[in-house]
Symmetry: C2
DNA sequence: GCATTTCGTTGAGAAAGTCAATGATTGAAT
DNA sequence: ATTCAATCATTGACTTTCTCAACGAAATGC
């Protein structure tokens, strides 16, 4: 019969396990900054030139809007982001990184990259080059 | 500044989002079989020629042993797998798929593949060929 | 104007992840 | 041989994450 499990050839299973490895390493690296991969992602997106609304954060991170509320609550309470009213649409709240949030983001980013690189070092250069394109196709199935 | 977020170039974020897409599609496809991606993975591994112990399931799926207990409890209650004693080590319990479990696994596998294929169809042939090797390197950082 | 939709928020519950402790059993070290 | 430490499955508690329904405020469509 099959001595090796078919599951080991299933991209979805491999994807899930690779993500579990990545998330665990990421959370460990971010713990020193009081962040997790989720809150880090929100903080990173809020640093964009055109700051996102909570709805845009939810869509981009594939989170429920109620999850974004909790994440922004936490970051706002720590002074890392602000909720700004949008003059053009008073329903929405724009989440923007604060002056204090920037250095926190950069420090977290450094530690995060340091934790990720040993994982990616196991890839060949061509694999490393192909990875982002592949993942983008899988992560955004219907054109963001 | 950067009009496009740096997060969109972060393989870890893309991995997380791609996994979220995959898990959601997988769970939707498996719902008709009363399974989720987790329980499906346990069922699939228990179909191997040499049935795994619960510890081996936990290691392979990167789950806490207590999670495996609950998953096997459920599958066993539904008659899809059995817990067999291992004569060579009476501490361990070997999880083996049952005669009733096999057709259930195969039916679930068909629906799961059908749900995954449209996602993978977005990849070029060379990307599709490269994906398993890349994910294996990321999913098993220290040689399974 | 009026109905419908969207946004953020609250709240509740299911699913998943994490950790400590325990009894039974094994393997190792004398 | 007998103790000692380690392993396995299990239970239980706790946190985090996911999912869904409802609601007030505001925008959009007609």
């Amino acid at each position: 019969m099959d001595t090796r499990s078919r599951l080991d050839d299933d991209p979805s299973f491999l994807l899930a396990r690779a993500n579990a490895v990545s998330v665990q390493a990421g959370n460990a690296a971010l713990a020193a900054h009081g962040l997790r991969v989720r809150s880090y992602a929100v903080l990173a997106l809020s640093a964009a030139a055109d700051a996102p609304t909570q709805r845009e954060l939810a869509d981009h991170l594939r989170l429920d809007p109620s999850q974004v509320v909790a994440l922004v609550d936490d970051l706002e309470a720590r002074g890392l982001v602000t909720r700004e009213p949008d003059p053009s649409d008073r329903r929405t709240r724009v989440v923007r990184i604060t002056r204090a949030g920037r250095p926190a983001l950069e420090a977290a980013e450094r530690d995060l990259r340091a934790a990720e690189s040993p994982l990616h070092d196991r890839l060949t250069p061509s694999q490393r080059a192909a990875l982002p394109g592949i993942l983008r196709a899988l992560a955004f199935p219907v054109e963001p």
